[in-house]
């Protein structure tokens, strides 16, 4: 946040922008009368839930709007030009020249068939006139790759996108965006698809580059943690209208609009002082002993297969009625662990004890009976419901497979739908008629229809908006009490783990690096890796300034009294 910026002319100004949706949509305008500015060397965050129109604005900035929608009123000015009024030549010079954009999913924004070095070169060659020599271009590519913090640029420029990790791909995207020293960078949810630690690195990179070059950044996000970390100013959007805008301090410390306050409150903040300690019965319900799993990925004919260790001697115990969070980055094996317990992925070694039986020895009917007591809620609410099956059937199928009559099962399904906060008539509708949050409620109802004793939630709220996330978490917490469920909550988001779990297990590359009561792990992490994860929580400094101090106090008293 620099002071010298104030006087300079804005690199982006949006004035009274309204974007009309095609007729028959759920509202006439995607965006209505939106005005804001981005000055050089300034990060402006556009915040809102899905459907708030924030991506529409980003697309309007580079004139990338789909044909069916058009700008109804207002204007966008990027470095003195209105992209909507430019001819194709001038627009090409603007895109990737004056203004560059990075997208959410780096894999689908890179050409899978071209080496990444070539793709960056292309970016330079289309814009630099006169055309620089091959050697110059090559040097520039090397320089860019180094700048975005990629190790070994020589090797990297010859790689294909699929050979890189998500974070590396996003760095390549940023290198491409930086290739022509843009005055404005538009970043549309650039870290949503990434891990916490990678997210932190990418945000820091964007911030550093912005400082070095004095460019303006328009960052679109739904995460107030990210906002707190990087933004200078914030624009809060709801249903296409600006609800509130101002500096970070103003908006986050003393929000004026109720909606902003709601959104901020919905952010899971690892409020350890509020952790309820449920009475945990010391009866072990599920025991995992020395679980092993290695995935072998075949490469070329002569190359040895690549080995990915997903579980390296994982042992854990789940007690009755407790919630155990399993946290780690992607590739740490946390989802595989859940899938192995459900027997959806076959472990290489070890044992899973449940109800005195080893689940791994069970076959056929015995496995079916055991699975009834263990249920799973998957991450993607869009992929985990059969698109051709009515919601009621989806829930009733389970009990029916175990001999409940159809009428009774449907009756029960309707009750469950009401219990998870939906209408009973939802039973006769198809999944595509519901939003992501509603679908996840349906998935929870489906999992609970069999009255399980253990519920595995595999990133069950990661695909949802913050406010919806909070509601679903609250529902899970209620149901847990009501049905005396033991829960394994798999997540990459430590804030959520802190909010819901009694105990936490931290996984890294298939090994448990830390295990303990939630409060202990969050306040006195033993492993360096856990501390790294904790530091990477977006907005931690901001949200926890008063919080963490009191937590430590509350905990020490709690420990003394127990």
């Amino acid at each position: 946040m620099s002071e010298a910026v104030q006087a300079k002319a804005p690199v982006l100004s949006v004035e009274g922008l309204s974007i009309a949706l095609p007729e028959g949509g759920d509202r006439p305008f995607a965006v209505e009368n939106v005005s804001f500015e981005v000055k050089p060397n300034e990060v402006v965050c556009l915040v809102g839930e899905s459907g708030s129109g924030k991506s529409m604005i980003a697309h309007a900035v580079l004139s990338l709007l789909p044909k069916s929608v058009n700008i109804a009123a207002g204007a966008v000015t990027v470095a003195g030009q209105d992209p909507a009024k430019l001819d194709r030549q001038a627009l090409r010079r603007l895109r990737g020249g004056e203004a560059a954009m990075i997208f959410q999913e780096p894999l689908s924004s890179l050409n899978p068939l071209k080496r990444v070095g070539r793709q960056i070169e292309e970016m330079i060659l289309t814009h630099q006139k006169p055309m620089p020599s091959a050697i110059e271009v090559h040097e520039r590519v090397q320089q860019l790759l180094t700048q975005v913090g990629l190790p070994n640029p020589k090797l990297l420029e010859k790689s294909y996108p699929f050979e890189l990790s998500g974070g590396q791909r996003q760095r390549v995207m940023i290198a491409m965006a930086m290739a022509n020293r843009p005055a404005l960078l538009v970043a549309d949810e650039p870290t949503t698809a990434l891990d916490v630690t990678t997210q932190r690195q990418i945000l820091r990179l964007i911030d550093d580059l912005r400082r070095d070059r004095g460019m303006g950044v328009l960052l679109i996000t739904h995460d107030f943690g990210v906002v707190a970390d990087v933004a200078d100013r914030v624009v809060v959007l709801r249903h296409g209208k600006v609800v509130e805008q101002g500096t970070v301090e103003e908006v986050l410390r003393s929000p004026k609009a109720d909606y902003t306050r709601e959104l901020i409150d919905a952010v899971p903040k690892a409020r350890l002082d509020e952790i309820r300690r449920t009475a945990v019965h010391p009866t072990p319900l599920l025991e995992v002993i020395g679980l092993e799993k290695t995935f072998r990925v075949k490469r070329g004919l002569l190359q040895p297969p690549r080995e990915v260790v997903a579980a390296d001697g994982i042992s854990l115990t789940l007690y009755e009625g407790e919630t155990l969070a399993v946290v780690g980055e992607s590739g740490s094996g946390k989802s595989t662990l859940g899938r192995m317990i459900m027997r959806l992925t076959e472990p290489d070694g070890g044992a899973i004890r449940f109800n005195g039986q080893d689940l791994r020895q069970l076959r056929g009917e015995a496995l079916r009976q055991a699975r009834k007591q263990l249920q799973i809620v998957f991450q993607d609410p869009f992929a985990s419901l059969d698109p051709r099956q009515k919601v009621g059937d989806a829930i009733a199928r389970g009990p029916m497979a175990f001999g409940t009559s159809r009428t009774e099962a449907m009756e029960q399904a309707r009750k469950l739908l009401v219990r998870v906060g939906l209408n009973a008539v939802a039973a006769d509708r198809y999944p595509h008629e519901f939003s992501g949050g509603q679908r996840q409620r349906i998935c929870i109802a489906r999992a609970l229809a069999l009255k399980p004793r253990v519920l595995i939630a595999d990133e069950a709220v990661s695909a949802l908006d913050v406010s919806v996330q909070a509601q679903v978490l609250a529902l899970l917490a209620e149901l847990r009490q009501e049905m005396k469920l033991a829960m394994i909550f798999i997540t990459h988001d430590l804030r959520i783990a802190a909010e819901i779990a009694d105990r936490v297990i931290v996984l890294q590359k298939g090994r448990i690096v830390e295990e303990g009561a939630t409060a202990d792990v969050f306040t006195a992490a033993q492993a360096a890796y856990t501390r790294e994860l904790l530091d990477a929580i977006p907005g931690r400094d901001f949200f926890d300034q008063p919080g963490f101090a009191s937590v430590t106090g509350a905990l020490s008293t709690a420990r003394m009294s127990s």
């Binding site: 959806l344 009834k372 263990l374 998957f378 985990s384 419901l385 059969d386 051709r388 497979a401 489906r446």
Partner: protein, 277 residues
Amino acid sequence: MDAVRAFLRHPSGMVGLVVLLVVVVIALIAPIVFPVSPWEMVSAPFTPPGEDGLLLGGDTLGRDVAAGVAYGARVSLVIGIASAMAAMVIGVTIGAISGYFGGKVDLVLMRVTELFQTIPAFVLAILLVATFNPSLLTIILTIGAVSWPPLARLTRAEFLRLRNREFVEAALCQGEGTLQIVLGHILPNAISPILVVTSLTVATAILLESALSFMGLGDPNLMSWGFMIGAGRTVIRNAWWMSVFPGLAILITVLAINLFGEGLSDVLNPRVSRRRS
């Protein structure tokens, strides 16, 4: 219902459907319009079209070509549809087993499929028909037996795609049995492309049957388009109508089915139908 409505708005698909319906109607009313058997001699041999009350002329033995074309439509449609169904049953069963179970089962079944794919379909069909007595049933089974491999491969690919989807895994966790999962969850989600390919198989089946009849390997009791072309081909230079009219009938019917199939494919493929609407 959305698919039906989208299809009604699909121009070439509708053309195909209308033409196909005309062919079906002709097949249905053949015995009413032509009460005399197409095998009966009704005029002098080599009657040109339009003369002697014969709209499309008479053949070398004085049989009515128009009656032959109308009765031939019944044979072609019955054989086309029935053998495509046979191919679908074989192909979907093998593809489903292969795709769902994977591993060694998949390996063996796919090698068998490849065996069928490497032998030219027509040569195999001739061999099979020549071995058994040519009759309606054996011809249907023969054509079915040589047309299933593409359907098996398609079904296998769809099953591979869907088998590890989360909703299938959820059904597994819900305690549903294998058959229930396959028939209730995977097949309904894979059915669109299978239906499209099956409809196109009808067209190739009609062509195969015509080719077999042309070679004289058809059911000798059935008046079919291929047989008519085969019988008329020797005199095509002085009596063109004997082969041209059944030939046109094949062309139009196959074209109509292909148009219909492509229309179906566009409508059932959500990406295309959404772009249209």
